[in-house]
Amino acid sequence: MNFALPASSEGAALLCSDSDLARFFIRNPGIIDTAEGVGRRLGLSGPAILSELEELVHIGLLAKKELGGHELFLINRAKLGRLTRTE
């Protein structure tokens, strides 16, 4: 892996979980896109990943913002910082 492994148990849990989306956003923290756009990069449709995106917003890894009628998903950098900080 090309990035620091998260030291917190929460971060490790996210990475080791089945959440490809969580790992995808942690590896690519600069992604700012709609569900459709994120899905396209994973070879999936927007609806197929929407509920998982909402779950990641719920746990605070992602933020959701509205812009010009689009619902955008982006990483919560404060949360990312806590996850990847070494103890």
Binding site: F3, N28, G30, I31, I32, D33, R41, L67, H70, L72
Partner: protein, 247 residues
Amino acid sequence: MLMGGFLEKDAVMLAGSAGAGKTTIALQYLVSGIQESNEPGIYVSFEQLPDQIYRDAKNFGWDLRKMEEENKLRIICTSPDLLFTTESGESILDFPIKDIHPRRIAIDSLSHLSMFAGEKNMRLETYRLISWLKMNNLSSLLLWETSNISGQVSSITDAGLSFLVDTIVLLKFVEIDSAIRKGLVVIKMRGSDHDKKLREYEITSKGVVVSAPFSNYEGLMSGNARRVAKLDQATQNFAEAFSRKKR
């Protein structure tokens, strides 16, 4: 070549075909801004994922993740249509701008934007984008992929965007003695003088290095490079040939 560098808040188009080094130059532009001028920057990609960009940049010794952690850089990956500003003037770039207050931005690439905007709307959308960038005090590097790998280029873009930007730098592959070499030339630079020569450049382990102008060749831009002897050497050869005594 630029008589001191790009002018502040200028929109610079960097045009070249696939593999010419546009992305490397764009990253180097941002990294130099951070390391030499303390100017934070944003890199906007529509195709390459940040993870890949971090990996490729490491080859040049640039730790982009660390620069992001220090809030000096943001590598943004989004869909092209989201870059168009809304009717209220909001932009997806508002998020990273609030984060790090950048002075530079590189957009990779306008060619991707044109696929979404369509030929008719591309000029208007590019004009709006450039105006927005200048209003937000950003010096921009806008990448454009040309279709010709080598040979004559009759227009930089096929969307009529050349007049919208302040500076155009063209990257070209040239064939000399059966080898492909890389050359760059400043086509235009509003408000400043600039080098008119086609110079060779190389992508090294430290990034792009520009060297001397191609000498002894003409026709490089047309794709038909021809070796040309230097005039003074030709004159000397002529004089020597006619001064030899006949046997």
